[in-house]
C-alpha cells in the first residue's frame, strides 16, 4: 500500500503575465484552492515545500519566506526547492519524503513563478530579459558568456539525436506542437490554446535550429499547489474526492556540463529516474499500464525524446508515436491533454505541479472536455537544467 496521497490540488490560470498579482498573491490563490479542494484548513498543514525557480523572475531572493508569510502559515517549517524546469516535480519529491518518513501528516507543495516583470527596455519586450535571467542559471564561467540559451542546449541534444537515429523529423516535431496547442483549447487555464497546422509550425520564425517559434513553449506566470497526506491521515479524514496515490517516484541529477556525459543524444539521467519510478510502481509495460501522461514539452523535440526515455518505445522511435496517433487524444497513451508547456504554458516552478494537478483531475474524472476515459493511472515527468540535468518522474494512481 502506498504511503502518500494527493488529497487536494489548486491551480491558477497560466497567463503570459498577471500584472495584477505578485508571486505571493498568485501563490495564495493556488494554496486557497488546494485547501478547499482537499477539504482542510490551513491549520491542518504540518509543513510546506515551495518550488520557485528564478529569483530574478520574482525580483526577490529567497521568495519562499515571503510566500509562507502571505499564506499565513508561520511558524510551521518550510523549504524552497529549485531545480530549473523540474522544480515542481522536485518540490513534490521533497514533500513526499516529509510525509512518507512520518515527519508530517499533511504537507503543502506549492509552485509559483512570475517572469514577465523582467523587461528589456531596448526592444520593449520582456522575452530577451527573461532569457537573460534564465542564463544566470547556466554555468557562469563557460556557458553563460557565449550567448547560448536554454533552447540551444536542448536543440543540440535533439540535433545529436537526429544525427544518431535519423529522427525525429521537423514534421514530427511540428505535429507535437499541433497536438499540444490543440489540447490546450479544451483547458480553460491554458495560455496558448490554438488550432494550427504542421505548416504553420514549419513556417514560424526560426528561434534556434531546429526549433521554430511554435516548437517552443512560452514563458508563463502562474501557481499550482498540491496537498499531500499520509496513508494514516487519509484513513482519518475520509476525503470526499478520491485520493490519488503516489505509487512511483524517481529522480536524477545528471552531469550539468553535458559534455561530461557518455552521450548528448539521449537523456540518460532521465531514463534512470523514470526507470526507478517504474520499478517502485511495478510498471513494466508503460504503454499498456498508463492511461495518460504529462511530459515536460518545453520543446517539441524533447517531448519526442521523452517518449523514448519514458520507454513508450525503443530509442530512436519517438517520432512514430506522434505519427501513428498513440499520443493524441483518444490514442493509446495521450500525452499532455492539459496542453503541456507548449499549450498551457511554462510557469517554471509551477509547471510540474500544474501537470500533476492535471493528472489528478483526470484520475478523478474531473477533467471536463479533455477527460481521458476511465483513467486510473498516469505519469508526470518533470525535467530541467542544461540538456535535462534534472529529472523527477512520478507515477500517480487511483486505487479505490
Amino acid at each position: 500500500m502506498p504511503e502518500v496521497a494527493i488529497i487536494g490540488v489548486g491551480c491558477t490560470n497560466f497567463r503570459g503575465r498577471h500584472p495584477d498579482k505578485t508571486y505571493f498573491e498568485l501563490a495564495f490563490d493556488a494554496a486557497k484552492a488546494a485547501f478547499e479542494d482537499a477539504g482542510i484548513d490551513k491549520a491542518d498543514v504540518g509543513a510546506a515545500v515551495y518550488g520557485i525557480y528564478n529569483d530574478f523572475f520574482q525580483r526577490q531572493y529567497q521568495p519562499d519566506a515571503f510566500v509562507h508569510d502571505y499564506l499565513g502559515l508561520p511558524p510551521i517549517p518550510a523549504v524552497r526547492v529549485n531545480t530549473g524546469g523540474a522544480t515542481g516535480g522536485s518540490a513534490l519529491r521533497i514533500g513526499y519524503a516529509e510525509v512518507a518518513s512520518g515527519l508530517y501528516d499533511i504537507v503543502l507543495v506549492l509552485g509559483v513563478e512570475k517572469c514577465a516583470d523582467c523587461f528589456d527596455y531596448f526592444t520593449k519586450n520582456p522575452v530577451p530579459e527573461v532569457l537573460r535571467a534564465i542564463l544566470y542559471t547556466s554555468d557562469m564561467t563557460y556557458d553563460n558568456p557565449i550567448g547560448r540559451t536554454a533552447a540551444s542546449g536542448f536543440a543540440l541534444a535533439v540535433l545529436a539525436h537526429m544525427q544518431k537515429y535519423g529522427g525525429p523529423t521537423e514534421e514530427q516535431m511540428a505535429k507535437v506542437s499541433v497536438k499540444n496547442h490543440g489540447n490546450a483549447l479544451k483547458n480553460p487555464r491554458a495560455q496558448s490554446g490554438m488550432k494550427i497546422t504542421v505548416d504553420d509550425v514549419l513556417k514560424s520564425p526560426k528561434i534556434v535550429d531546429p526549433f521554430k517559434r511554435l516548437d517552443n513553449c512560452l514563458y508563463t506566470e502562474g501557481a499550482a499547489a498540491v496537498v499531500l497526506a499520509s496513508r494514516r491521515k487519509v484513513a482519518e479524514l475520509h476525503p470526499k474526492k478520491p485520493p490519488i496515490w503516489i505509487t512511483g517516484l524517481g529522480a536524477a541529477l545528471d552531469w550539468a556540463f553535458p559534455g561530461n556525459r557518455e552521450s548528448i543524444a539521449e537523456f540518460h539521467g532521465c531514463r534512470l529516474a523514470t526507470k526507478k519510478s517504474y520499478d517502485m510502481a511495478g510498471i513494466t509495460d508503460p504503454l499498456e499500464q498508463f492511461d495518460l501522461a504529462e511530459l515536460h514539452d518545453a520543446f517539441t523535440g524533447t517531448e519526442l525524446m521523452s517518449y523514448e526515455d519514458c520507454m513508450f518505445c525503443e530509442p530512436g522511435e519517438g517520432g512514430r508515436l506522434i505519427d501513428d496517433g498513440t499520443v493524441w487524444p483518444g490514442g493509446k497513451l495521450p500525452v499532455n491533454l492539459s496542453g503541456g508547456l507548449i499549450g498551457c504554458g511554462h510557469a517554471v516552478g509551477a509547471t510540474g505541479l500544474m501537470q500533476t494537478s492535471e493528472i489528478v483531475w483526470q484520475l478523478r474524472h474531473e477533467a471536463g472536455a479533455r477527460q481521458a476515459p476511465n483513467a486510473r493511472r498516469g505519469l508526470v515527468q518533470s525535467i530541467g537544467g542544461t540538456l535535462c540535468a534534472w529529472t523527477v518522474s512520478l507515477v500517480l494512481e487511483r486505487m479505490d
Binding site: 542564463l135 557565449i146 540551444s152 534556434v208
Partner: protein, 182 residues
C-alpha cells in the same frame, strides 16, 4: 502631473538603471499623467545587480594562459588519464588533483545549432553558432561559439581550431573556434 515632475521620474530611473532616458519613455506616461484607475497595477522601473571581482580559483591558469600567451590548456587526471577542457582542478571521477597539459587547439564539431534569437545581451549578434566541440587531446565536449562568415555552411563533424581575440577580457569569450582551413 507637472512636466517637471514627470521629467524628474524618468531622469531618476534612467540614472539609477544606467539606461538612456529615451528607453524608459513613454512607458510610464499613463501612470505619470494620472490616467490609471486606483486599483490598476502600478509599475515602476527596477533592476537587480551585483558587481564582482571574481576569482577563477584553481582554474586561474587556464584563463591566464589564454590571456597572456594564447595557449589552450586541458586538465589531465593522473589516475584515469582523462583530460578535461573546460578544465577542473580535481578529477570528479577519481578525486585526484589534475595536471595541466597543452592542447593543440584543434577538434571537431559534434553538434551545432544556429541561434536566431538570444538574450538581450546577444540579440544584436544573431545569427550565430553554438556548438559542442570534441577537442583533440580532451575526453569531453566543450560548448563553444564557432565563428564563420556563412553560418549556414556549418556541418556536423566539421574540423575546427581555436582562435584568440586580439582584445581580451579574461573571460571564456577570449577564445572561439573557426573552421580549419581545407
Amino acid at each position: 502631473m507637472a512636466t517637471s515632475k514627470k521629467d524628474a521620474f524618468y531622469r531618476y530611473h534612467a540614472a539609477r538603471l544606467r539606461l538612456p532616458e529615451d528607453k524608459l519613455r513613454p512607458i510610464y506616461d499613463d501612470e505619470l499623467d494620472g490616467k490609471k484607475k486606483p486599483d490598476d497595477p502600478f509599475e515602476v522601473p527596477d533592476k537587480m545587480d551585483v558587481f564582482f571581482k571574481y576569482s577563477y580559483g584553481g582554474q586561474s591558469r587556464f584563463f591566464r594562459e589564454i590571456f597572456h600567451h594564447e595557449r589552450l590548456l586541458g586538465a589531465k587526471c593522473p589516475a584515469c588519464g582523462k583530460v578535461y577542457c573546460p578544465p577542473r582542478s580535481v578529477c570528479p571521477r577519481c578525486y585526484e588533483k589534475t595536471e595541466w597539459v597543452n592542447l593543440p587547439g584543434t577538434g571537431k564539431v559534434v553538434a551545432f545549432t544556429i541561434q536566431h534569437y538570444s538574450t538581450s545581451a546577444f540579440v544584436k549578434k544573431v545569427p550565430f553558432l553554438v556548438a559542442y566541440v570534441q577537442l583533440d587531446g580532451a575526453d569531453f565536449l566543450m560548448m563553444a561559439n564557432i565563428e564563420m562568415d556563412d553560418v549556414t555552411k556549418a556541418k556536423p563533424g566539421m574540423p575546427v581550431k581555436v582562435a584568440y581575440r586580439p582584445e581580451k577580457s579574461g573571460s571564456i569569450t577570449d577564445i572561439y573556434f573557426e573552421p580549419l582551413a581545407d
